[in-house]
C-alpha cells in the first residue's frame, strides 16, 4: 500500500524523522486555517500517489492568506496524470540550502536491504542513476544484523554529506531504517532530504510503501487503508476479501491462484481481447465466495463477457459450480459466462452445471478455447452496442 506524502510524513514522525510543520486539508478554508497556524510562507502541495505534481502546478508557495486561498482553490480538484486531487498538505516553507536523497528498500536479487544515499537529490533518482551513477552511494544491509550509527556514518561520509551535519544525517538514516523495518515498509524514500539554510537536516518529501502482509500487527494502518484506493471496484473487492486489480478491458476474469489469474490475462490478450480485471479467488474457495466474485464482476459496467478459469487443486470444482449456480439464481448477470474447469472434482462440477448450460453459460474444455470464446462474445456484445 502506497501512502500519500502527508501520511508518509506522519509515519516518519513516529520514528523521530524531522519533517516540516503542517497539516492536511480537504477544503480551501481548512487549507487557509492550517496555513495561518503553521505560519507564512507556506507550501501548498497536492496529495496524489503519482510523480510530477510540481511540473503539473500542484505545488505552490504562498506568502499570504490570500495566496494560500488562491492556490488551494486551484489545486483542489486538479487532475494530475489521471489522479484527482482530493487533499492538500499545507506546510511551513523551508529555506533550502541543499537537496539530497535517501532511501531503504529490499534488493530482491541480493536478498538484502539496500540503502541509497546521494547528495544529488530533488530530481528523479532514476535520472541520477542514468546520468551520474557515481553520485549514488549504494550499501547493502543484512536484515539479520540491523543498521548501526557507525555504518550510517560511513555512508554519509562516502556520499559527501557536509561534514558539520554528518552526525545528524547518520542519526536520521538510523531512524529511517528503524521506520523501514519496525514500520514494515517495502520502501521508505526521502527526496529531497534537505539541508536548511540554518543548518538543519529534514525530510521535505516522504514516499512510503507499506507491506500489506504486515497489516495484522499494525492496527494503526486502518486509516491509511481507508484512503488507499478510489477505484470503487477495488473498494468493493476488498470488502469481499477478494484479491482484485481493476484494469481497462471488457473481459471480466475470475481464476484461482495468482499465477493462473495472470496467465488468464495473458491468454485473453493473445486471443485478441483485453481483461477488465485481475481476480484471484484463492485456494479452497467455496460456493459463496465464487458467487460473490461473480457479483463483483457483474457490477463493472465495462464487462461484456466473464471468463472463469479454474484449475482445482485445493479448490474443488463442484464448489465452484455450485457458486455459479447460486449466482445465476441470485444475480441478474448482464454478461455471458465462459467457464473452464479442470482438476479436483471437475467431472462433478460439470454435472452440476449440465442443466444450466445456455447461451449465457458456456463450458469450454481448455483455457485457450475458453479465452477465445470469451473474447469473441465480448466483441459480439460490443457490435450490438
Amino acid at each position: 500500500m502506497d501512502l500519500f506524502e502527508y501520511q508518509g510524513k506522519q509515519y516518519f514522525e513516529r520514528y523521530d524523522i524531522p519533517v516540516s510543520k503542517g497539516g492536511v486539508a480537504v477544503s480551501v478554508d481548512e487549507a487557509v486555517r492550517i496555513a495561518d497556524s503553521v505560519g507564512y510562507p507556506v507550501v501548498v502541495k497536492a496529495q496524489v500517489k503519482v510523480g510530477g505534481r510540481g511540473k503539473a502546478g500542484g505545488v505552490k508557495l504562498a506568502s499570504t492568506p490570500e495566496e494560500a486561498r488562491q492556490h488551494a482553490g486551484n489545486i483542489l480538484g486538479m487532475d494530475i496524470k489521471g489522479h484527482t486531487v482530493e487533499r492538500l498538505w499545507v506546510e511551513h516553507a523551508t529555506d533550502i540550502a541543499k537537496e539530497w536523497y535517501a532511501s531503504f528498500t529490499l534488493d530482491r536479487a541480493a536478498q538484502l536491504h539496500l540503502l541509497m544515499l546521494s547528495v544529488k537529490g530533488g530530481v528523479e533518482i532514476e535520472e541520477v542513476a542514468r546520468t551520474d551513477p557515481e553520485a549514488i552511494v549504494k550499501v547493502h544491509v543484512d536484515p539479520s544484523e540491523g543498521y548501526s550509527l557507525s555504518q550510517a556514518m560511513n555512508a554519509v561520509t562516502k556520499a559527501g554529506i557536509d561534514a558539520e551535519v554528518r552526525g545528524e544525517t547518520a542519526k536520521l538514516l538510523v531512524s529511517l531504517y528503524r521506520c523501514f523495518v519496525e514500520g514494515d515498509c517495502d520502501l521508505v524514500e526521502i527526496n529531497p532530504l534537505v539541508l536548511t539554510t540554518d543548518g538543519k537536516v529534514h525530510a521535505l518529501d516522504a514516499k512510503v510503501t507499506l507491506d500489506d502482509n504486515a497489516m495484522f500487527r499494525h492496527p494503526e494502518w486502518e486509516e491509511f487503508a481507508a484512503t488507499d484506493t478510489t477505484d470503487e471496484r477495488e473498494k468493493s473487492a476488498k470488502q469481499r476479501g477478494l484479491n482484485y486489480v481493476g484494469l481497462d478491458g471488457d473481459v471480466g476474469i475470475i481464476a484461482n491462484g495468482a499465477g493462473l489469474a495472470m496467465s488468464t490475462l495473458d491468454v485473453v490478450s493473445q486471443a485478441g481481447g483485453s481483461a477488465a480485471n485481475f481476480l484471484d479467488i484463492g485456494g479452497g474457495a467455496n460456493a459463496a465466495l465464487m458467487a460473490s466474485a461473480l457479483d463483483l464482476i457483474n457490477s463493472d459496467s465495462n464487462v461484456k463477457s466473464i471468463l472463469v478459469n479454474i484449475f482445482g487443486g485445493i479448490t474443488r470444482c463442484d464448489e465452484v459450480a455450485k457458486g455459479i449456480v447460486q449466482a445465476l439464481a441470485e444475480v441478474d448477470l448482464k454478461s455471458p459466462i465462459v467457464l473452464r474447469l479442470d482438476g479436483t472434482n471437475a467431472e462433478e462440477g460439470r454435472e452440476i452445471l449440465a442443466d444450466h448450460i445456455s447461451d449465457r453459460l458456456l463450458v469450454e474444455k481448455t483455457m485457450l478455447d475458453a479465452a477465445s470464446k470469451a473474447v469473441a462474445m465480448a466483441a459480439t456484445k460490443d457490435s450490438k452496442g
Binding site: A109, S144, V245, G257, M262, D342
Partner: protein, 294 residues
C-alpha cells in the same frame, strides 16, 4: 532420481493440529509420504489420526529422526517455526504459508544463510515439493503428477504449476520432481538452486520453469542456463499483460518501473537458449515435443 526429497524422506508437520495442517498433512501421508510426527506447542502427547504430536521440533526429531519439516503455520508464527526447525537440525523446510511480512522473511532467510547454511527452505507462499510416486510435501494434488520422469518442474506459482503438471501428465510425460519456489519477494530456494540440482540429477532430462513478473530471479536463471546447463529448458512467464506498479496477487509479482517485466525475462531466457512459450499450454506442447525427441 529426484531432487531434495525421495521415498525415504521422513517428514514432520509443524501445525499438524490446525485445520490446514491436518488436511494437507494427512493427504501427504495418504500419498505415501513418510509423515512421522506433528508439532504444536502445548499439544504434545496427543495425536492426529495416529500421527504423534510433540511440543517442539527438537522432541519430534529426536523421536523420529525426521530430516524434513512441512510448515503449515499462520503468518505471525511462520518465521519462528522455520527457525525452530533449522535449529533442531532439519535439513529441508517446506513452508506454504502465504502472507508472511517481508521484513520477517528477509530476516529469516538471512539467519538461515548465516547460522544454518545446510538447511534448505522451500517457499514460503508455495505449493511445496512433489517427487511423483515417492514423496509429496505441501498442497500439490498428487493425482495430477505422473511418476517416472524425465521432466523436472520449477515454478513461482501454485495453480499454474498444477496446470503445467496436468499438461504434461495428460500427454503421458512424467516428472522427476516438481518444486514450487513460491511467489514471495525473498524465497528460500531460487530457480538457480533448482536448475543446478536438476542438471545434476541423471533422471531429469529436461526442465520446465514457470516464472512471473517481479524481481530478477528469471534473469539470474537465464544467466545460469547459458553458462552451466546442458539440459533443455522450456519456460513460461506469467503476467505479460500486467500493468506496472500493481501487485498481481503474489507479494513478489510486481513490475517496478521498467524492471521485472515479463518481456525482459522472456528476452533474457530466449537469449540463453531457452524455448519460451507464450502460455502454459504451449509450454506443455513444446516440452512434450522435446521429450519425444530425446
Amino acid at each position: 532420481m529426484s531432487i531434495f526429497v525421495d521415498e525415504n524422506t521422513t517428514v514432520i508437520v509443524q501445525g499438524l493440529t490446525g485445520s490446514q495442517g491436518r488436511f494437507h498433512g494427512l493427504r501427504n501421508r495418504d500419498y505415501g509420504t513418510k509423515v512421522a510426527a506433528g508439532v504444536t506447542p502445548g499439544k504434545g502427547g496427543t495425536d492426529v489420526d495416529g500421527i504423534p504430536v510433540y511440543d517442539s521440533v527438537k522432541e519430534a526429531v529426536e523421536a523420529t529422526g525426521a530430516i524434513a519439516s512441512f510448515v503449515v503455520v499462520p503468518p505471525r508464527g511462520a518465521a519462528e517455526a522455520i527457525l525452530e526447525a533449522a535449529s533442531a537440525g532439519i535439513s529441508l523446510v517446506v513452508c506454504i504459508t502465504e502472507g508472511i511480512p517481508a521484513q520477517d522473511e528477509a530476516r529469516t532467510v538471512n539467519i538461515l544463510k548465516r547460522d544454518f547454511p545446510t538447511t534448505r527452505l522451500i517457499g514460503p507462499n508455495c505449493p511445496g515439493i512433489i517427487s511423483p510416486g515417492k514423496c509429496n510435501i505441501g498442497i500439490t494434488p498428487g493425482n495430477i503428477a505422473l511418476p517416472g520422469g524425465p521432466v523436472g518442474v520449477v515454478s513461482r506459482s501454485g495453480t499454474l504449476t498444477y496446470q503445467a503438471l496436468h499438461e504434461l501428465s495428460q500427454q503421458k510425460v512424467g516428472q522427476t520432481t516438481c518444486v514450487g519456489i513460491g511467489g514471495d519477494p525473498v524465497p528460500g530456494t531460487s530457480f538457480v538452486d533448482c536448475l543446478a540440482a536438476f542438471e545434476q540429477d541423471p533422471e531429469t532430462r529436461a526442465v520446465m520453469m514457470i516464472g512471473e513478473i517481479g524481481g530478477s530471479a528469471e534473469e539470474s536463471a537465464a544467466e545460469f542456463i547459458s553458462t552451466s546447463m546442458t539440459k533443455p529448458v522450456v519456460a513460461y512467464i506469467a503476467g505479460q499483460t500486467a500493468p506496472p506498479g500493481r501487485r498481481m496477487g503474489h507479494a513478489g509479482a510486481i513490475v517496478s518501473g521498467n524492471s521485472g517485466t515479463a518481456q525482459g525475462k522472456m528476452d533474457a531466457l530466449s537469449a540463453a537458449g531457452v524455448r519460451v512459450a507464450k502460455n502454459p499450454t504451449e509450454a506443455g506442447e513444446i516440452m512434450v515435443d522435446i521429450v519425444r525427441s530425446l
